[in-house]
């Protein structure tokens, strides 16, 4: 089954094959810096925060029903619907404070992560485990490195060795990627305004369209402290906030690509791009609505 027409869509909605979730996230005690990206996986609110549990450097699968195995941090989206196909129908978001805008919220399907990556190491850190992904060979999946304990003050670059969708191993970053010294939780540490910062997702080697697994990460220098989690996710859709307190709505039917698919088991979460310095304890809120048929 699939929604292939407006008639199909109407039938699904009228048949109850839809679910809506109102979400809310509040940034932590630290202010965020303009021009960077931050993971909201670990922020309080609704759904609950992930604490990135798991064995250091070992793959941790995430899904809708069990979250990270400890906290069900993903946005509920109606459970498994196979043999139907589920889609994101619409979404909205708003920020409560003037310092919440301008900003960009990116909805991603978190496939899982490798926790406990040391930011105080300059040797290769071998990542273990075989990701079980909702996208064949990681098609469209992207990586970001989010800080889970404040990094040290020494400058450091990031290199990574991953397998693409072929899957061919040994693929590496095509450009120098700089992390941020003294990056705070939950900064996506390679994003920002410094030279060689990239965000929100890590750049892939020429021609690559996804990541199926990651073999290792290496920092050019030990930063002095800190840990991070390397998150493997599938970007779904983004929404841009420009006005304080004004709800921005996005109709996913009338855009390209329309009605992004939400896979069974999807573990949906937001990452935040800050177009302005964002005060501590700033609230973001909104809703997402799904339909299947």
């Amino acid at each position: 089954m699939a929604i292939q027409s407006i008639d199909n869509l109407i039938n699904s909605v009228s048949g109850g094959k839809t679910v809506r979730y109102d979400w809310n996230k509040i940034t932590g005690a630290a202010a965020y810096t303009a021009g960077r990206w931050y993971s909201m996986l670990g922020l309080g609110g609704s759904p609950v925060a992930s604490t990135f549990p798991g064995t250091s450097l070992a793959w941790q699968t995430c899904d809708e029903s069990t979250g990270d195995g400890t906290n069900i941090f993903g946005i509920p989206n109606g459970g498994n619907v196979s043999t139907d196909k589920k889609h994101l129908l619409n979404m909205s978001a708003w920020g409560t404070a003037a310092t919440a805008v301008p900003s960009t919220l990116f909805l991603v399907d978190v496939q899982g992560y490798w926790p406990g990556i040391s930011m105080n190491s300059n040797t290769a850190q071998t990542l273990t485990g075989t990701p079980s992904l909702r996208y064949t060979n990681g098609a469209g999946c992207r990586l970001f490195l989010t800080i889970t304990a404040t990094a040290g003050a020494s400058a450091h670059n990031l290199s990574y060795s991953y397998s693409n969708t072929t899957p061919t191993s040994g693929r590496t970053n095509p450009v120098t990627v700089a992390c941020t010294a003294s990056a705070i939780v939950p900064h996506i540490t390679h994003s920002g305004l410094a030279a060689n910062n990239y965000g929100p997702f890590l750049p892939l080697a020429s021609g690559d369209s996804g990541v199926s697994t990651v073999a290792s990460v290496t920092l050019s220098a030990a930063s002095g402290a800190g840990t991070a989690a390397l998150v493997l996710c599938r970007p779904i859709a983004q929404i841009t906030l420009g006005v304080t307190g004004l709800t921005v709505e996005k109709d996913l039917l009338n855009q390209i690509p329309s009605l992004p698919e939400i896979k069974d088991g999807a573990c949906l979460a937001w990452i935040l791009g800050t177009g302005a310095a964002t005060a501590a304890n700033t609230t973001f809120s909104g809703q997402v609505e799904f339909v299947w048929g």
């Binding site: 469209g140 060689n196 929100p200 997702f201 369209s209 006005v243 390209i256 177009g275």
Partner: protein
């Protein structure tokens, strides 16, 4: 004579809605972030964001005096473009918020450009003919079709309004003298109201981004020389560039509104998603409508797909 730059909108590999959806489904896309703080803006003046801090970083466009300096992007020296393994890269979306001065808002217009190169440090204290060095060719769009040129005050402030003449060679290899005006605007990164003198008054505060083209030409291949009628002072730079596309944010003149622009090239631009060549050096020109409206910040991202 074209009054506005033309931009490339051909598409060869991604030809249909299915191709677009397949690119997204297969993961052949990339999101490239940008942020610029305090882009100076004046009443209807075009300005280049390169002279402001952020990501991409500040770049004053300097080099060897009067020598064409070709530009090929590397990493995030401009808006990062993903390597595609030889497949054709398209601009799929522009998502941005521009925040003019945190006060009364007005609409802003943006031109996304591919900077091909420039002639830096042209002497604004001279009224002699300054011959420019064209040893280096255009790195992209080498026949000059669709290539535009402008002059910008890029080092020291312009002190005097004046006119000038550039001798250019068009894409049809025809050379011609084109006149332009420089008007004292007070902004270092201000693009001149460059135009044929017959097309506009020197006192007009606005004009097209580019010089005109020689008769019959579809663009400018090179600039051969420049001469000011009176010395404007300062140092000037002539850009050679291609406009990729235009967009705008539509402000409210009465309140602090910063509406987001989410422009999908396939929906909002007649399915004409511009091709982005390898090495493209992407940035934005911006034009605010009212005076003293620095954009602080200009924030957003470009989405590329390939196939």
């Amino acid at each position: 004579m074209p009054r506005s730059p033309r931009w490339d909108c051909d598409y060869t590999m991604i030809k249909s809605l299915k191709d677009v959806n397949d690119a997204y489904d297969d993961g052949r896309y990339h999101v490239s972030n940008f942020y610029k703080a305090n882009i100076l803006g004046g009443d209807q003046l075009w300005t280049d964001w390169s002279y402001s801090a952020g990501q991409p970083s500040y770049d004053a466009r300097v080099g060897i005096t009067g020598t064409f300096t070709p530009i090929t992007s590397s990493g995030n020296s401009a808006i990062y473009i993903p390597p595609t393994g030889g497949l054709e890269r398209k601009l799929a979306q522009i998502n941005l918020v521009a925040n003019p001065n945190l006060s009364s808002q007005a609409s802003c217009t943006f031109a996304l450009y591919d900077l091909l190169g420039y002639y830096p440090l042209i002497d604004g204290d001279s009224t002699e003919v300054q011959t420019l060095n064209n040893t280096n060719p255009l790195p992209r769009y080498s026949n000059g079709e669709g290539v535009c040129a402008l002059i910008i005050n890029h080092v020291a402030p312009i002190l005097n309004s004046c006119s000038g003449t550039v001798n250019v060679t068009g894409s049809n290899d025809v050379s011609a003298d084109l006149t332009f005006d420089l008007k004292l605007g007070g902004l270092t990164n201000e693009i001149n109201r460059s135009h044929l003198a017959s097309n506009n008054a020197a006192t007009a505060p606005w004009g097209p981004i580019s010089f005109g083209f020689p008769s019959g030409a579809k663009g400018i291949k090179r600039i051969n020389s420049i001469q000011f009628t009176t010395a404007p002072s300062g140092l000037f730079c002539i850009y050679m560039f291609k406009v990729i596309t235009f967009t705008a944010n539509h402000g409210d003149g009465a309140s602090i509104t910063r509406p987001a622009t989410e422009k999908d090239m396939f929906i909002h631009s007649g399915f004409s998603a511009p091709t982005i060549l390898d090495g493209a050096n992407l940035g934005f020109f911006s034009r605010t409508i009212t005076s003293n409206r620095p954009l602080n910040p200009l924030w957003g991202n470009l989405v590329f797909i390939w196939g």
